[in-house]
């Protein structure tokens, strides 16, 4: 790949990343990847009525409460990010 081509490919890639939240890239940290995974999982649970029911029965909570707590957890599913070392 010529350097010029790589340059244009990158801008496209950046555009795609901005458009499709959750897409990974080469410099993704473990924390970012995990956070994406958790957010995807949580939104999938909220998006499937059977899964929210399943969790609600196990936990003894109302379905609405389960959905709310799952959505809340999407804010920071894996705790604060690791401190940057620079």
């Amino acid at each position: 790949m010529s350097s010029e081509l790589r340059y244009t490919a990158n801008t496209q890639l950046e555009h795609l990343h901005a458009r499709y939240t959750g897409t990974g890239h080469a410099d993704l940290t473990k924390y970012e990847w995990l956070t994406h995974q958790h957010r995807d999982t949580l939104s999938s649970i909220v998006g499937h009525p059977t899964l929210t029911s399943y969790l609600a029965i196990a936990d003894g909570e109302a379905v609405g409460r389960v959905r709310f707590e799952m959505t809340e957890r999407m804010l920071q599913p894996c705790g604060p990010p690791p401190p940057k070392d620079d």
Binding site: S44, G47, H48, P49, T50, E61, G64, L75, G79, P80
Partner: protein, 1213 residues
Amino acid sequence: MHLYNLTLQPPTAITHAVAGNFSGSRTQEIVVSRGTRLELLRPDVQSGKVATVIASDVFGSIRSLAAFRLTGGTKDYVIVGSDSGRIVILDYDPKTSSFVKVHQETFGKSGARRIVPGQYLATDPKGRSVMIAAMEKAKLVYILNRDAAANLTISSPLEAHKNNAIIHHIVGLDVGFENPTFAALEVDYSESDQDPSGEAFNNAEKMLTYYELDLGLNHVVRKWSEPTDPRANLLVQVPGGQLATSDRYDGPSGVLVCCEDHIIYRHMDAPQHRVPIPRRRHPLEDPERGLIITAAVMHKMKGAFFFLLQSEEGDLYKVTIEHEEQDVKALKIKYFDTVPVASGLCILKSGFLFVASEFGNHYFYQFQKLGDDDNEPEFSSGDYPSYGMADPTAALPRAYFRPRALDNLTLVDELESLCPILDSKVMNLLPNSDTPQIFAACGRGARSTFRTLRHGLEVEEVVSSDLPGIPNAVWTTKLKEDDPYDSYIILSFVNGTLVLCIGETIEEVQDTGFLSSAPTLAVQQIGADALLQVHPHGIRHVLSDRRVNEWRVPSGKTIVCATTNKRQVVVALSSAELVYFELDLDGQLNEYQDRKAMGSTVLALSIAEVPEGRQRTPYLAVGCEDQTVRIVSLDPESTLETISLQALTAPPSAICIADMLDAGINKTQPTTFVNIGLQNGVLLRTVLDPVNGQLTDTRTRFLGTRPIRLLRVNIQRNPAILALSSRPWLNYTHQNFMHFTPLIFENLDYAWSFSAELCQEGLIGISGSLLRIFQIPKLGTKLKQDSIPLSYTPRKFIPHPHNGLLYLIEGDHRVMSEEAAAKQLQQLRESGRAVDEEMVNLPPEQFGRPKAPAGTWASCIRIISPLDAQTVNVIHLDNNEAAFSLAIVPFAAKNNELHLVVGTAQDTFLAPRSCTSGFLRTYRFTDDGRNLELLHKTETNDVPLAIMAFQGKLVAGVGKALRLYDIGKKKLLRKVENKTLGSTIVTLNTQGSRIIIGDMQESVFYAVYKPPENRLLVFADDVQPRWVTATTMLDYNTVVASDRFGNVFVNRLDAKISDQIDDDPTGAGILHEKGVLFGAPHKTAMLAHFHVGDIVTSLNKISLVAGGREVILYTCLHGTIGILVPFVSKEDVDLLTTLEQHMRTEQLSLVGRDHLAWRGYYVPVKAVVDGDLCESFAKLPANKQSSIAGELDRTVGEVLKKLEQLRVTASGF
């Protein structure tokens, strides 16, 4: 292996419900989503009953539902947000009684993804636009309008995206005719993702944002964004906008923001109002716990509006807003009533409230009053400083109310729901039953039930009375053609006839003109006002003035059978001759000049009812002893000529011609069916061609062991056929399709329609010397349910092998056990605190139990006698223990005496899973299994989630360890352990020395026990991770399992490997074999895979019809019951697979989901044909049907017959 999937009972849970005028008439209807099905419910305002009008499988997962109406329109449309990546607008067409897809706009990938819209829907109250949003970032706005021809149009989407924002809820704002505005509750995570200190996370603000759609610029702008309570979860629209006719405002506009413990009224440039959500003052309440609103509905009346909000405990609150024009003066909240926690609430203008429960039965209530002038404390924002917003970060002082029995609402109807089915077994435990019953542990919390499901229609007996003798037939008749109700009941005995008159009481009458000294063969109200009685020696035509014209049989002969309708009479004589009579225009009964000799004794006769506007029905069916049925013409041109002949396999016992609607055959006109009952209990159903009188499309069904008797009756003003054999069956039309279902009722010898003022749609029957009048209330249901109430959520149950009792374990998280609650109450009393006894004694079935902190459990073991539907005994567990598994084990060390072992755990936390100690409780059966005696408790280090009897010992899955226990004096003794399994063992199955282990995350493992060396070795596993929920062995090498995402799959081990493992005497070979892919040395192959769309909770291998093939029956969380039927021939596989392919191209999914993608949601569908899709072939228009049938080289009738045959032979449904 090829399987055919059939749904026996579609899901019964309701996930969303919206009300509206969907058929365009003045009556309001409710559209509900049952997860993968869309249903239209129509409440009857008079009777308060809710009936299903149509139900349609959407082959996709419905995630949101909204109703909207174009400005000035009278008809509501349904908008569906699903996992198809498309927005779909549906219109209910009352003419064809179906949902019609008006628009289907694609905007993204399919699947329930984070940034693909479909999760939330909000409509502009004036019907000008709709917003569809995802869980994160994406929000699309569509403009809805009318074109010149008044058709609904939809624009291309406008984006209102916000990056890095998690969306909690959206709602359409009521702004009148200003630009449509939507409110969204969002949290931005970009800062907290960057801040390692966690400060940004703690300070993250939940924003209430207004998005305005500028209709002029065709653009969406973020108009206003303000932080609100960080624990807000729900938005509710507040009416607003000016009326066109007056200057008055409908309301203040804005939104109610429902937060934990508070409700806030918010609007742009307006002061906020905040009130607390009143709580129950329960002595055992957890003060740390917040309370959120989970369901809400707003209702507008003339000049006023109110909200009903429901908390997660089920309490309804009435919220009102006091306002002057656009200025809010106060926000008020008060307790209204308590109903089950809902997934959807709908208020109808006719004064009803529909509560779609999240678990258990759904309820339909009628408003008695609106709680306006009662003594409930009301909390108003005006009573707090700065309308409750003096310090928005601090909570308002808590408000309390006392829950009470229903006061403002009364229950009028209940819709049965199996949701959730947590465990099931299929067994034949009931006496006199030739088909097995499904026993299902259903429900959640205190509203749980244990249900027995039997295939058949429920029958409601109205009256039953004893007769002096044993009659052999019964009829009812009107006196005149236009009488609304029946007047006489005629009973025929061996040597006489009894006539009863239906009045205020039922009494015998004498002077009716009927011959009472002979048995009766047929009774008919004939002509305008005459009656007809056929007896063995003649026919009596009783005129309205009681004159009797009698036709006498030539001497030496008798009448053996007869058939009548309003204008025609045919009798068969003992000399095998047919005599035909017809009513002329003067009301005179005339005999046709010739008699027809049949050549063989006539056993059965039937003619249809006279078609409307005709003189006669042209065909007569005659069943003869020579095992034939002949169709004889009654047409004046060719009277009594034989037209066609059908050979039978046994002599006929009854024939019945009936015109019934079956949209699979003919969508508009009723089809003439000739039903032939044989003496060996087989029923043949053929279609009579109205043009040439030929019999086509024969379908057979085995009904029972006795000769069949067929009777034409009326069910809901439609003709139906009652078929009586060793059990009664009903053949009827429901929602345009024909159903054939047994009645759950005693054997009947004869029956007839019965219509009186008090029982308008009844049936009358005789069984022995009993006369019974009954009704069939729930047409269309295929399973009759009988339930036993339970205390807590059922988890698992197991049948005793000998005594017919069932042992069930129940357990609820976040609920205090009775013992713990009593102890805590005692402490409170001792510490001098007043305990509100009334609150403590509230019935938990209605109000639930107070929520306790996580890690608190209430649990019990229940002994159930399914025969008399009763709880025999309950053993409560103490010390915060909860039961998770159970097994009945014949311990070899105790001479194979049966023991019940229950796996429990103390102080269990779910996430991450932990417990102070697990236990295996060993019980002895006492009192013939009606009681249990605890022998000992064995401690384990983790929760034993699965246990099973194995070769006179016990196998337990304790966490990730598989252990073998033998019984000891004080404990169970651990013999061997295997700890190489993936995560947590959830299911166990065994055959021989093989153990199949279902793992919570790692699919199915095959293990073997080698006694010589006492080794427990895993030798095969799956190549895919699977979150197993249920497993069952199909044969020694094959296992069917289901996972948490709604898939069912079949795995098989290679027979060679299986033999090799079994031939290894010590297991040394397996022990030293090298693992493959970081797992066991051998891998199983996947044979079949299918996405059901509902989480399968139990799998049974069972034969559902006597002598039928074994099928896999699965039950699911949302109430689905289905079967997987193995195909018997390659030919069937090819036919059905091709049919499925053709059906897929028809794009039947109402949400626009691709069928192949749906059934292969997580893994491509493999070797399973979707019977539900194939069966919708019957619903296709006739031209499509014939073109598909043509592609299959078959006729439409043959395809339909094949589909029915597959269903009937596999399930009997």
